[in-house]
């Protein structure tokens, strides 16, 4: 399960005696408590990572918090974050903080690996889909205007440059991970120019990867196929909004928001979070949230920092824990608490014995 970073990125160099500094943005809802558990776990495992915590007050309308966060991430190169709540009743000038982060740092690839996990009961088995979603343009361009009262236009921007870039990322990832097929998801029968351009770019890139099968599917049919036969999909690439739909459908298919980690990669920066980016406001601070997705996201981060030994060790322990039905949290139909899950992960790691520096 996501054993190694999907594409080998150059990680930021470790300074000060092999220790990395990572920006940590707690976010809202369940973010703070789950990220605290990550820090707890890392301390327990003696992971050579120091967290620089940068808070973003979602209630504030000033840009200072965001600018601090962006600067910190630029400095450290890597971040782990919780979701920042967006009050969608505020005027359009107040853009989603999560969106600003993604576009400012040009984190153009949102990568989500949805896999059926042992011990988690789902309606579908043998699901193993990698979703590669364009993360910076499309419907999320935040360009809207009301020229005439009561008539609003929202612009969806598709560019050749970004479409080629994400297609290249997808095919490269497929190749590096021995995946056979890339499916482009689109609605080019209706959005002939926009999605047509996206599809065209995917076709062009596909030509450079003859060993990989390329096909395409219209987004509404894709969702229908996913709920009946998800095993047919391998790697999927798509523009922003369809990415939101498909990644949420797939996460739901393999067990829900509490299980799947997500990564946002740019040329120079990487930010890790849960795949479905939920704030989980209603279950915050009750010790019932499932920490698996966040913990697995921290493993993706460790892989990115080339700390593969720590990443594998922690990941193995998490997977062993999640297969224990009696520890399942409410989202998986159980009554376990967040801390019980984290304790179990730590016990699992401990039971494997002390590690020597050669093993790490």
């Amino acid at each position: 399960m996501g054993d190694c970073a999907l594409i080998k990125h150059a990680p930021p160099p470790a300074k000060y005696g092999g220790r990395h500094t990572v920006t940590l943005i707690p976010g809202d809802g369940i973010g703070p408590e789950l990220l605290t558990h990550v820090r707890e776990l890392f301390r327990f495992c003696c992971v050579p990572v120091d967290f620089e915590i940068v808070s973003i007050d979602s209630k504030s309308t000033s840009d200072d918090d965001m600018n601090n966060a962006i600067t910190a991430i630029r400095r450290n190169g890597v971040a782990l974050k919780g979701n920042i709540e967006t009050n969608h009743n505020l005027p359009p000038s107040h853009i989603s903080r999560n969106n600003i982060l993604r576009t400012s740092l040009d984190l153009y690839a949102n990568v989500i690996h949805c896999q059926t996990l042992p011990g988690v009961r789902t309606r579908h088995r043998d699901v193993d889909i990698i979703i590669i979603r364009e993360n910076t343009e499309g419907e999320y361009s935040s360009l809207e205007h009301e020229n005439v009262p009561g008539v609003v236009e929202c612009l969806k921007i598709i560019t050749r440059k970004k479409s080629l870039r994400i297609a290249e990322y997808a095919f490269n990832a497929a190749r590096q991970n021995g995946r056979r097929r890339v499916t482009a998801v689109h609605k080019a029968n209706i959005m002939k120019l926009g999605d047509g351009l996206f599809l065209q770019c995917c076709k062009e890139v596909a030509a450079g990867y003859p060993e990989i099968t390329f096909d395409s599917m219209i987004v509404d049919n894709t969702t229908m196929q996913l709920v009946s036969k998800p095993q047919q999909f391998d790697v999927m690439v798509m523009p922003n909004l369809y990415g939101s739909v498909i990644s949420n459908v797939c996460a739901g298919l393999v067990g829900g928001p509490g299980l799947v980690p997500g990564a946002n990669y740019g040329k120079d920066y990487a930010v890790f979070e849960t795949a479905t980016r939920n704030t989980g406001k209603s279950i915050a601070n009750k010790n019932i949230a499932n920490p698996t997705a966040t913990l697995l996201a921290s493993c993706l981060m460790l892989d990115h920092l080339r700390l593969h030994g720590y990443a594998s060790m922690i990941r193995k322990a998490i997977l062993a824990t999640v297969s224990e039905t009696r520890l399942h949290t409410a989202d998986l139909g159980g009554q376990g608490t967040t801390s019980e899950v984290v304790q179990s992960v730590m016990r699992e790691i401990e039971s494997k014995g002390p590690r020597t520096s050669e093993q790490i």
């Binding site: 967006t86 419907e139 008539v151 236009e153 598709i158 509404d220 969702t223």
Partner: protein, 345 residues
């Protein structure tokens, strides 16, 4: 009904058989309606795209006149020829009759097993604007802009329809599906109109949910959803997602509500040219759409009778078309439903 036996009011319905398997599944529906003694008289019309005066594409006058008079239509699948120079037939129909609401009830069919059980929801999709405005521009080479249009008027109209539908069909709640966190102005406007309309329907519970959250929750537990109302693209995606939950387009009914009281019910699957004319087609989708039509017309008794006969046949598994897992012909499947309907007399 006994007291009315002397007066049978036949309602005229414009029937558009369509292409491919259209004609045979339409025949199947007419046979079943006859067996059920449904008070419907069918007026068959064809729709093709013709160029009217002034060069505008339109449907044949006979078809339009029939619909304008009957107000109710039942339609099979229409093919969209590529590079025909005219817009899709479905688009043409939509524009001609201002079909602003696409309604799809998704109910699990007992006997047609899918990984999801107890699905009972309705998607109501705004069908005239949104992301399907068709307005796109190439700004500079390699940069394309597609415009999503949301208007106060269309949002209000669809919201009103959704709440009316909920009330008329004894549904408990309406959920507006949106992405106003990202598309603040457009989806924000849509949401605002839904909230305003909700004020006039205090008997119906109103909730709002992000599109991605709906997707996430829908595939884990679809039973939590009731009536969903949303703009065009989300509606397109979600209505197909929900069709997938109950077994696909071959068993999903669909209705389109237009201005001026027009309503066209249709099967939403394709024309299946490979099996056309071979008596292999499954008429369930068109039949269930016709049942939806009967309910719309207030003929609830007839609707229930025909629907039950159809579901019983499927549940029994003895006579099923190939796509349902059997090896019976379309005519055999139809015959079985007719027999059951007659037995219910």
């Amino acid at each position: 009904d006994f007291t009315k036996s002397w007066i049978i009011i036949l309602q005229t319905v414009t029937l558009i058989p369509g292409d491919g398997i259209g004609p045979e599944i339409s025949t199947a529906v007419m046979k079943i309606f006859e067996a059920a003694k449904a008070p419907i008289q069918w007026e068959e019309r064809n729709v093709t795209a013709i160029k009217g005066p002034g060069g505008k594409w339109m449907i044949p006058t006979e078809a339009k006149d029939s619909m304008d008079k009957s107000k109710i239509g039942l339609k099979g699948p229409l093919k969209t020829p590529i590079a025909a120079g005219h817009p899709s037939m479905n688009l043409l129909l939509r524009k001609t009759f201002d079909l602003y609401a696409n309604v799809r009830p998704c109910v699990s069919i007992e006997g047609y097993k899918t990984p999801y059980t107890d699905v009972d929801l309705v998607t109501i999709r705004e069908n005239t604007e949104g992301e399907y405005s068709g307005i796109e521009h190439v700004i500079v080479d390699g940069v394309v802009q597609s415009i999503k249009l949301i208007t106060e008027e269309a949002s209000q109209r669809i919201a009103e329809y959704a709440f009316e539908y909920a009330r008329n069909n004894q549904r408990a709640s309406v959920t507006a599906v949106h992405k106003a966190n990202i598309m603040r102005m457009s989806d924000g406007l849509f949401l605002r109109k839904c909230r305003e309309v909700a004020e006039n329907f205090k008997d119906i519970k109103f909730t709002e949910m992000y599109l991605d959250t709906v997707c996430l929750n829908m595939v884990q537990d679809p039973t939590q959803f009731d009536v969903l109302v949303m703009p065009n693209l989300y509606g397109d995606i979600l209505s197909d997602l929900c069709a997938g939950l109950i077994g696909g387009l071959g068993v999903t009914p669909s209705g389109n509500i237009g201005a001026n009281g027009v309503a066209i019910f249709e099967s939403v699957h394709g024309t299946a040219p490979d099996i056309a004319g071979k008596d292999l087609a499954n008429p369930t989708a068109l039949l269930l759409s016709a049942v939806m039509m009967l309910r719309h017309m207030g003929l609830h008794g007839q609707a229930k009778k025909i629907e039950t006969a159809c579901f019983d046949t499927i549940r029994d598994k003895k006579v099923l078309t190939k796509d349902l897992g059997g090896n019976s012909k379309c005519s055999e499947f139809t015959g079985e439903i007719c027999r059951r309907v007659q037995d219910m007399e």
